[in-house]
């Protein structure tokens, strides 16, 4: 009888403590110190649960609510939000109040603190469900172990699509989609069995896009909306080291130019010869495929004059019917007149915007802390710095979602060294909202990783190939050659 009473008492205590809210709570008017910082961010309706942690917490109570829907969670120093409940609350929030509210109470040194509740705004516009990125140690110009990965952003599933341990440790450049289409993408594989791997609905081709008349094998590029052409830069890339603390690596081109590649007959059309000899890089097609945007700078002596190397954003017409360059280039953003240098232009799929980054000088802004993203309205010509989006560290390498309402970019805002993918919403008026980092099942993964998430790219679906397909094409498929037009 006594034992039964004890058991009942313990059960009662357990039930009481598990249901009760913390007692003797101190109120704090600030937002809770959660990591990742999801306070007041805007998220798409289809994103995976935003699990977070409070590093110093001994215990954590979280109440997530939207309308009459509430999720109560507890954890030691982190919470994991159940997928089903999360989906339900997001669906309700996106059609109703447009936001969910989170109330976080933290126990630290035995004392409970309830922080000011914060909102997470939910948009009904989804983000493309798949994200590819390169996982690489931020080791400047060298590599040992690198992988291309694909992550489903609606869940936490990550898949390796290429692993250089299967391709003789050769370098792999980042994976780029055409039109956010999983059936149209490419990346460069370096090394003896390398080439540009072109994916068309899972059929993989390996093309050696290099000719004697070209400066180098192709580097940065973009696929035409038709999938028939690619525009690439070929660059002599040199690394140098800054001496000043905080500044790290400077990667610059001693030469660079553009080419168009016709994937149907493997021909290469060089940039028109009647243009002056200048540095041209980061080419990208417009949404309609009739224009190529690129970065252009006068050829100056580097690295001695590196601080004066500034690129402007130019455009040149392109005729998809016969794959020819236009005869006249126009300046779109005269960045050098602002004392800045443009790189990484990316046009939105709806053709309304062009997102690009600007740094104080140079062409490789990953290690430039001042690198920020800017938005150009292609209809009005107006440019604006994305103030609420940029951080004190490098923010760059962005990619649009197919609905043009979301973009993802790589930011080093946490520690200045390791890049992570952040998602940002652009509303109908072109205003960007506070971005949020790619959610992880275990939020402390970002603390423990020594890899950067390099060049994140969004896609409408899952890629139709995997790491062993890339191994096979590297080892067994001879590369197709190209010829100059």
């Amino acid at each position: 009888m006594k034992i039964t009473i004890y058991i009942l008492f313990i059960c009662l205590m357990f039930v009481m403590t598990s249901c009760s809210q913390p007692q003797g709570v101190t109120e704090n008017s600030e937002f809770p110190p959660i990591y990742p910082d999801y306070t007041e961010v805007t998220i798409p309706v289809n994103i995976a649960p935003l699990n977070f942690m409070v590093r110093q917490a001994e215990r954590l109570h979280v109440v997530i609510s939207s309308g009459d829907n509430t999720i109560k969670l507890k954890g030691r120093n982190r919470i994991r939000i159940p997928m089903g409940k999360w989906r339900k609350i997001l669906a309700q929030a996106s059609t109703g109040p447009g936001r969910i509210q989170l109330e976080v109470s933290v126990q630290e040194h035995g004392i409970w603190t309830r922080y000011a509740p914060f909102n997470i705004y939910v948009t009904p516009e989804p983000v493309d469900p798949y994200l590819s990125y390169r996982l690489i140690e931020p080791g400047y110009e060298v590599w040992k172990s690198l992988q291309l990965a694909e992550r489903n952003v609606e869940t936490f599933r990550e898949r390796i699509i290429a692993d250089n341990s299967l391709t003789d440790n050769s370098c792999m450049n980042c994976h780029t989609y055409g039109n956010q289409d999983p059936g149209l993408s490419f990346f460069h594989l370096r090394g003896p069995g390398g080439g540009t791997v072109l994916n068309r609905n899972g059929e993989l081709r390996k093309i050696n896009i290099n000719q004697q008349d070209m400066i180098s094998p192709v580097v940065y590029g973009n696929i035409h909306p038709s999938g028939d052409y690619g525009v690439f830069s070929s660059n002599i890339v040199l690394p140098g080291f800054h001496t000043l603390k905080g500044e790290r690596l400077e990667v610059y081109d001693s030469e660079s130019d553009l080419v168009i590649v016709d994937f149907r007959d493997n021909t290469v059309t060089p940039f028109p010869e009647d243009f002056p000899r200048e540095l041209r890089t980061f080419p990208v097609f417009s949404a309609d495929g009739n224009t190529v945007f690129y970065c252009n700078a006068p050829q100056i002596s580097v690295p001695d004059s590196i601080y004066h190397l500034r690129y402007d954003l130019l455009k040149i017409s392109f005729d998809p019917a016969d794959g020819r360059w236009g005869s006249k280039a126009d300046t779109v953003v005269n960045a050098s007149s602002l004392g800045l240098s443009v790189c990484h232009p990316k046009t939105s799929p709806d053709g309304q915007y062009l997102l690009f980054t600007m740094a104080d000088y140079g062409t490789f802004p990953i290690w430039h802390q001042e690198t920020d993203m800017w938005l150009l309205n292609l209809h009005t010509g107006e440019i604006s710095k994305l103030e609420g989006v940029n951080s004190t560290y490098s923010d760059t390498y962005h990619s649009w979602s197919s609905n043009s309402r979301w973009f993802v970019f790589a930011s080093k805002r946490d520690d200045g060294i390791y890049g992570k993918p952040y998602f940002c919403f652009i509303d109908a008026n072109g205003h960007a909202r506070k971005p949020f980092v790619l959610p992880q099942k275990k939020p402390h993964i970002y603390d423990n990783t020594l890899k950067s998430y390099n060049i994140p790219e969004l896609s409408r679906g899952k890629l139709p190939f995997g790491a062993t397909d890339i191994e096979r094409i590297y080892k067994k498929t001879p590369a197709e050659n190209v010829s100059m037009k």
Binding site: V142, H242, H444, A467
Partner: protein, 528 residues
């Protein structure tokens, strides 16, 4: 008699275990110390889960967990010698199960143990690999208890698959022992034994896409580097210099360098670093082997080995060239076996503390706080995140320029421009010119940066200066102005005469002048 033989076997095993322990403790401790430094074992759930993505997860996890104890020389010695003893016991038992008599079984069991011992004398052999062999032997010894022939055959494949996941290459040893045992058991109809064994050997190939391994690695996991079967005392000595450098025991480094008398670039690199930290570089440079200017820096290039890349940050860090130190530490980590290293994580934390970059330093300290042996160090250093009086900070350049990674002269000049008090940078710059035999550059640097009134001229610098002054026909007053001691002037005249008499033959000059700049200038073949 039987009892006596058994005792003798055990005595021999005991003696050899103690010998292995003493060997790793006193004669070969630095290889194990380095192995610990080249892993970063985190006591976290996701670190554990990362092992599940590859075969041999259990033995790799257990191996790396215990490799942390290699931080103490005795820890490595105890663990390796106990692992070897266990290996001998289990191999002996396995051989006994084949019907071998105790003494031959003991002797034959000593052969794989000896091989394993030699593997452990290499730089990269993981403890987890020995555990894979141990687990395979345990599985085999349990398996042979199965008396039913059908069960013996049918259970093989699932057990192989399980063992492969737990112990990687251990599954191959298991297959071999299982096959031998099966053949001994089945006098008739031996064919069915071979079929599961062959199928089992295909399992690593079939599973390799899931584990993202090449065919070769699928069969050798968790061994990652090529195996070597030799005891390298050359590397042991270099690692001794490396270890004492990390501890800042500069006189010990110099003492060891003297004892070893090695003609090795990495040894010279550490010796020169110790000489500079002891303010002896300008005097004692040529008391040690100098292969050329490459003895001052270890390059980070395609020709470098992973280990020299890992070592290369030591000089940059102490010079205050933090961007290069960070570059080489980061690359050292990338090229290390596991792409994670406690030593280099620690160094990256130190670099960012020196720079004053709290977020980046916090990242590395956060990792170290999740380890067993670096937690305390990390917590102590967290207090420095916002400190202003960090010793190395004043050495960091205050001017910016972009330079190539191997442009050491430019880097040293920038360090001096930012902080003329950076004695190490000055010594390294002067010695770079000396070791390049570039007398005009040495003289220019000396005239520009050395404050003559307050310093006596170090011996080697005096030897280089007198060559420069002699070339320009400097007067006695000029020699005095430079503070060159009369003894050096006399010594130089003697050398000049002796050199002319020798007709360019180094042999007669070696004993008397082998430790001088003049001898180096005339006879050293520069190695870049």
């Amino acid at each position: 008699m039987k009892q006596k033989g058994k005792w003798l076997e055990w005595l021999a095993a005991g003696v050899l275990t103690v010998a292995a322990f003493l060997f790793f403790l006193f004669f070969y401790p630095y290889h194990n110390l380095l192995k610990e430094q080249m892993i970063l074992f985190l006591n976290t759930q996701d670190h554990f889960i990362s092992y599940l993505e590859k075969p041999a997860w259990l033995t790799s996890y257990a191996g790396d967990l215990l490799t942390q104890c290699f931080i103490m020389p005795a820890g490595g010695a105890i663990l390796v010698s106990l692992a070897l003893l266990s290996l001998w016991l289990l191999f002996r038992k396995a051989f006994r199960s084949f019907g071998m008599r105790p003494a031959p079984a003991s002797a034959v069991a000593a052969i794989p143990v000896a091989v394993e011992f030699l593997f452990h004398c290499g730089l990269h052999y993981p403890l987890g690999s020995t555990f894979s062999t141990l687990l395979a032997l345990c599985f085999f010894l349990l398996f042979i208890r199965i008396r039913n022939r059908h069960l013996y055959i049918w259970l093989f494949l699932p057990v192989f698959a399980l063992l492969y996941y737990l112990a990687g290459h251990g599954a191959l040893l298991f297959t071999l022992l299982w096959l031998v045992s099966g053949l001994i058991r089945s006098v008739k109809n031996r064919l069915p034994i071979f079929i599961p064994a062959l199928l089992g050997m295909l399992i690593p190939l079939l599973l390799r896409p899931a584990f993202l391994l090449t065919p070769g690695r699928a069969y050798t996991y968790p061994v990652k580097a090529p195996l070597s079967l030799n005891i390298s005392f050359t590397w042991e000595k270099i690692l001794a210099l490396d270890y004492q450098t990390q501890k800042g025991n500069w006189f010990k480094v110099i003492y060891l360098a003297q004892q070893y008398g090695m003609k090795n670039r990495v040894a010279s690199y550490y010796t020169n670093l110790a000489l500079s930290q002891s303010n002896l570089l300008g005097d004692w440079l040529f008391l040690f082997y100098q292969p050329g200017p490459g003895a001052l820096f270890l390059p980070v290039s395609q020709q470098s080995t992973p280990l020299t890349i890992a070592f290369s940050n030591e000089v940059f860090f102490r010079l205050g060239d933090m961007n290069m130190a960070q570059h080489s530490a980061m690359l050292g980590m990338i090229f290390s076996q596991n792409h994670r290293s406690s030593r280099l994580t620690k160094r990256l934390a130190e670099i960012h503390i020196a720079i004053g970059d709290a977020p980046a330093a916090g990242k590395y300290l956060g990792l170290l706080e999740k380890t067993l042996f670096y937690r305390k160090w990390a917590r102590e250093h967290r207090t420095l995140l916002h400190a202003t009086d960090v010793p190395l900070r004043e050495k960091i350049p205050s001017v910016d320029t972009v330079r190539l990674a191997d442009d050491y002269v430019n880097a040293l000049e920038i360090l001096l421009k930012s902080n003329p008090e950076n004695k190490m940078a000055l010594d390294y710059l002067l010695c770079t010119h000396i070791l390049r035999k570039d007398i005009p550059a040495f003289r220019e640097t000396y005239d520009k940066w050395v404050v003559r009134e307050t310093e006596t001229v170090p011996g080697v610098y005096a030897q280089a200066l007198i060559v420069s002054l002699y070339r320009e026909g400097a007067s006695d007053d000029m020699l005095q102005k430079y503070g060159i001691p009369t003894s050096v002037i006399n010594h130089f005249m003697e050398y000049t005469n002796a050199y002319q008499e020798s007709g360019g033959d180094p042999e007669p000059l070696q004993e008397m002048y082998g430790n001088t700049f003049w001898f180096y200038y005339h006879f050293a073949m520069l190695q870049e």
